[in-house]
Amino acid sequence: MTSWRVTRPGIFAPCLLLLLLPACDGPQSALAPAGREAELLADLFWIMLAGAVVLWLAINGLMFYVTRINVGHMPRRLAEGIIIGGGIVFPVIVLAALLGYGLTLMPLTRVPGDGLRIRVTGEQWWWRVEYWPEGAEAPVVAANEVRLPSGRRTDIELAAHEVIHSFWIPALGGKTDMFPGRDTLMTLEPLTPGVYRGQCAEFCGESHALMAFQAVVLPEEEFADWLEAEAAPARPPSGPLEAAGQEVFLAQGCGACHTVRGTPATGAVGPDLTHVGSRLTIGAGTLPPTAEALANWIAHPGTIKPGVEMPSYDELAPDDLAALAAWLEGLE
């Protein structure tokens, strides 16, 4: 499969590359691929870029030549040759070759998965994530973070609750839209363990900009361990402060919207919080998972994420808020 694949761009645009490579890095960069699909598409990009630069220089060089350097009358036959050669013959050949290459990539990005299935549902503005290991009867439910085993092809089933979203982890592969009432499917094969960032790519309303998530690629065994831990119920409060926090949570009726497995909270409107403390971010990629940030979020969700459905709890006593935040931070 890879025999004909042109390895990294160095061959094509060495100088440009030297300039740009440091700028190409980033946790959400399509040019710093960490997965099979992203790698194929990054290669495709570099090849097309090199071709585009050459063609741009050729066309505009010709234009410059005829309008500034050789402004005299040139033979008409040559001019007509330019129309036919430049307008028809050359593009037909180049585009046929490009289509041949570009379209053969498509099946490679759509090879079906080999085990795990993840179902991600776009909500406003967060991600409901369900892990369905092979043969599982019920999913392991999480939110706002997608963990994937490296070296395996994972099927990702996409859906949306109210409006259209788009699921995208640039470092791992292209995006696919998520629709209400219609499932779409994509497959990702991450290669390099690490933490990458994904983001909603289809405008989905007021806080579209704040609908992100972390994609954590783990070596296969580590992933299996993590999934097992994720399937377990929440750990009991580790101290009096945390216990008080849990009480606040239940007393305030948070369980009407949120589930914390192992407690009476079984709401399904908002994100599952069973292991919220082990996530790398809260608020769908918006804040760090610290107690301060959690307290801030609970008190002012609408300030942090305009239009969010969660009501603000700024009337909570500071002690209660601190206890609640401490308990949530401890839900690892």
């Binding site: 740009l20 700028a23 399509a30 585009a52 009358h73 307008g87 009432g181």
Partner: protein, 870 residues
């Protein structure tokens, strides 16, 4: 039977032969060299000029605003579109300020979303498309030596509609109530939007789209029928070809969007679930309808600018264009291909790989005609001796930018690559490269080029170069980095972004560049609008161009061409000796206005042989009233108030009827007149020779396309939804539906019969047919409505009954229009507006009914029969 076969030639042979013969042109044509060389008596010429000047005099004082002449309406149109471009540009600047640094809060999320929605909406609907129509209205008649567009009041009506609609849509920003679901308005986000923003978008823009289609109809008819004698299609200035192609694209591209708007507004206002998946609807249907419009839209914007380049390049090279036929073929080819590309806006919606492959290939294929056009310009510059004039500088800059945008277009047309960059800043960069290179820069080049023609003054060379370099560098500073921003993962339409993703410096650079662009536009705007009273008039043909617009008089005369020339070359000013001198002397056609009426010459579609003299309409206020009421009919439902809207609509119809009755298809005082060079032409024709008939024909093509969009919806639901119609659903009453359709066909037959009988002189029987026709039509729609009413087909319950109802509602609305037209004809026969020899209105009504009859039959089949067999 053959009398109602519909072939106008047969009919003429059978009945109105004498009339047709009597109206045929008489006298020598084409004119010989001797005839043209014969000098004009200067006294006669002066008297003619005096009469012409009086007939075409622009109204003065406050009455100036009642003008309908293309030179006034076109100018207002251009300036209005330009104003909205500046507004949309300011929105962009505000967005760039917000995005200059991460986690910024200059704009709230809500306001930012309104701003980007309105930036796209305004640039597309209030600037790019109207500007093409505005420029064309302003200069197209001059390219063809015509006096005016064929329907001046229609242009004026279109302009006032556009102005009202755009102020309404744009003004919503001031009330913080603007649309905010993106210029593409994807449901369910936009259907669920609680404010009135989405309604403003849907109704306001539908209103503007109707005006756009009206202008397109007029431009097409103008190009086909108002060319100077002798200007066969293969001699038309390339600009006219592009007008024809782009006009045709508007006629077929806008209606699907209007159909989509209709479904959308029915869902928002009356809860008909077209896009609601819970009740069988599908949000993807909107995406299809939107992009079937949206992609041709891109070329609707791009081709006119190529057209401007096609006028500037030969002038810069001082020689005729090389590859005229190649360019025409490519323009037509681009037009066709552009309708087959829409899915490339939907590559990430999870469509099957086969569709993606097909649309990838089609998207790449469009490179070829585009490339041919560009290389034809390069070829022209090669064989000529190029003067790098200011307009040519803008064109060269445009080429540099456009080719970059085109090459990234080749990249994103590869579906798999698009999976990465779709909806990122890479696309923002790509589309701005194509639109600046393919629209903004050539248009500004065109403004510099045509300014001496339009205002009879000149813009500043120095400021023009400043503006160019500021806009050109500013543009690249802003948008070149965005390619990388997108590849680094920044999605579009985000009001902010966190730091640490490598986007910070790129966004800062883009924001700085945006202000450089703004500085360039400030220079350009000042140069455009600054008072130039002290300037001496420019030379008549300052660029030494070869096309007819440069024959216009200095100082300006409102008549356009002093006399309408005989043209037998592509560049008459280069290739036809003494043409300007003879035009000035009134040697050619219509050099006089004996009756004091505004007239222009109508010629045949292919060969441009003179056919008749069209009396075009003059200044009027009725167009303002009609536009105002039409506006109210569209705007009031935004607030979910319907009865006043219906009343306003009725007033609008009344105004339009008054306007048509008093100023169109009037029986002339003389059947034929001498138009000069010994040629005598008719002053009244009916049927396919008349411009009005062509206007109706093209309007109905657009209208049928919208209907086809609705029918497409039925089949779309059927293919995409396994339960359409849902199991156990009721069906329409088949016999009532069939009976309704039969009554509609009978009504059509009655109106067609009325036309034939009237031609034979039996006006009394024709009147009886015209009394029967509306009654039959009423029975027809009553049957069709009852066929859906009686069974349990609640349009809010499921998309299937909603779709059935929308087809019937469409037919009913058109039947109301058809009945109004039948009654208009009946009144015409009673009050002497229509007689056996003057029946243009009957012809046009029949044409409308051909389409309506077909619509009714299709509606009956799709609602009455199809669901039973699916």
């Amino acid at each position: 039977m053959s009398a109602i076969s519909g072939d106008p030639n047969d009919i003429r042979r059978m009945s109105g032969r004498e009339i047709a013969d009597a109206r045929a042109p008489e006298g020598p044509y084409p004119p010989t060299d001797e005839m043209l060389a014969e000098p004009m008596d200067p006294e006669v010429s002066r008297a003619q000029a005096e009469r012409l000047r009086a007939a075409w005099k622009t109204p003065q004082g406050w009455r100036y605003w009642s003008a309908v002449n293309n030179s006034e309406v076109g100018l207002w149109y251009v300036l209005t579109a330009f104003f909205f471009m500046l507004c949309a540009g300011l929105l962009a600047l505000a967005m760039r300020v917000q995005l200059a640094v991460p986690d910024n809060d200059v704009l709230s999320a809500d306001r930012f979303n309104q701003f980007f929605t309105m930036h796209g909406t305004a640039m597309m609907f209030l600037f790019a498309v109207p500007l093409f129509e505005a420029i064309s209205i302003l200069i197209l008649p001059a390219f063809m030596g015509a006096r005016d567009m064929p329907f001046p009041r229609l242009s004026a009506y279109g302009f006032w509609c556009f102005l009202i609609g755009s102020v309404f849509v744009m003004g919503s920003l001031l009330f913080n109530a603007a649309p905010k679901a993106g210029w593409f308005m994807y449901p369910p986000l936009a259907t669920q939007d609680l404010g009135i923003g989405s309604d403003i978008w849907l109704l306001g823009l539908s209103f503007i789209e109707v005006a756009s289609i009206a202008a397109a109809v007029e431009l097409i008819v103008g190009t086909l029928k108002c060319r100077p004698p002798g200007m066969r299609v293969n001699l038309m200035p390339l600009y006219a070809w592009y007008v024809l192609v782009v006009g045709g694209m508007i006629v077929f591209a806008f209606p699907p969007l209007i159909a989509g708007d209709l479904l959308f507004e029915l869902e928002r206002s009356f809860d008909w679930p077209f896009f609601d998946p819970e009740r069988g609807g599908d949000p993807l249907l909107w995406q299809h309808l939107f992009w079937i419009f949206g992609h041709p839209e891109v070329y609707i914007i791009f081709l006119p600018s190529i057209a401007i380049a096609a006028m500037i390049v030969p002038t810069a090279a001082q020689r005729p264009i090389v590859g005229y036929s190649w360019i025409v073929l490519s323009a037509v080819g681009t037009g066709f291909l552009s309708f087959g590309l829409w899915v490339h806006h939907m590559f990430t919606t999870g469509l099957p790989a086969l569709s993606l492959g097909f649309f990838s290939a089609a998207s790449e294929a469009v490179v070829i005609p585009t490339g041919i056009q560009i290389f034809a310009f390069v070829a022209t510059l090669m064989v000529g001796r190029v003067t790098m004039s200011l307009p040519m500088l803008w064109i060269a800059g445009a080429l540099a930018i456009f080719t970059a945008g085109g090459l990234t277009g080749v990249m994103v047309a590869i579906a798999s690559f698009d999976f990465q960059v779709h909806d990122t800043y890479f696309i923002v960069a790509h589309l701005h490269y194509t639109l600046f290179g393919g629209m903004v820069l050539p248009v500004i080049g065109g403004v510099y080029y045509f300014y001496p023609f339009i205002r009879k003054k000149q813009m500043s060379e120095r400021m023009g170069r400043w503006a160019f370099w500021l806009i050109f560098t500013g543009f690249n500073i802003t948008f070149l980095p965005m390619h990388l921003t997108g590849l680094l993962g920044m999605p579009r339409r985000v009001f902010t972004y966190p730091t640490g993703l490598g986007w910070d410096w790129l966004n800062m650079v883009s924001s700085v560049g945006a202000f450089v662009i703004a500085a360039g536009f400030a220079v350009f705007t000042w140069d455009l609008l600054r008072p130039k009273g002290h300037q001496p008039p420019p030379p008549r043909n300052p660029w030494r161009a070869g096309t007819l617009e440069w024959s216009h008089n200095i100082p300006e005369e409102a008549w356009g061409s002093r006399s309408i020339p005989y043209v037998d070359s592509r560049y008459p000013l280069w290739q036809q000796e003494k043409i300007v001198e003879r035009m000035d002397a009134g040697r050619y056609y219509l050099g006089d206005a004996e009756e004091g009426l505004r007239e222009t010459l109508v010629t045949s579609v292919i060969d441009a042989r003179p056919v008749y003299v069209a009396r075009v309409t003059g200044p009027a206020w009725i167009t303002h009233l009609a536009a105002g009421f039409t506006g109210a009919a569209f705007i009031i439902p935004t607030f979910h108030i319907y009865w006043p809207a219906v009343v306003a609509g009725a007033f609008a119809v009344a105004c339009i009827i008054y306007w048509l009755w008093t100023s169109t298809a009037r029986i002339p005082e003389t059947e034929k007149k001498d138009v000069g060079l010994g040629l005598t032409l008719a002053t009244y024709v009916a049927g396919p020779k008349a411009v009005g008939w062509w206007g109706m024909w093209i309007t109905m093509l657009a209208d049928s396309t919208a209907f086809a969009g609705l029918v497409f919806g039925v089949f779309y639901y059927w293919t995409s939804n396994t339960a359409f119609p849902p199991p156990g659903a009721d069906f329409a009453e088949p016999w009532l539906m069939a009976g309704g359709a039969v009554a509609m066909v009978a009504s059509w037959a009655a109106v067609l019969g009325a036309r034939e009988i009237n031609r034979r002189g039996r006006t009394d029987i024709a009147r009886m047919a015209l009394v029967a026709a509306p009654v039959l039509a009423g029975l027809g729609v009553a049957g069709m409505v009852a066929a859906l009413w009686l069974p349990d087909l609640d349009p809010t319950s499921h998309v299937y009954p909603a779709m059935m109802w929308v087809l019937v509602v469409w037919t009913v609305a058109h039947t109301i229009a058809g009945v109004v037209m039948q009654c208009y004809c009946l009144a015409g026969t009673i009050f002497g507006k229509i007689d056996p020899a003057h029946d243009a209105d009957l012809w046009n009504t029949c044409l409308f009914w051909h389409f309506l009859c077909l619509t009714a039959i299709i509606t009956a089949l799709v609602t009455g029969l199809l669901p039973r067999v699916l």
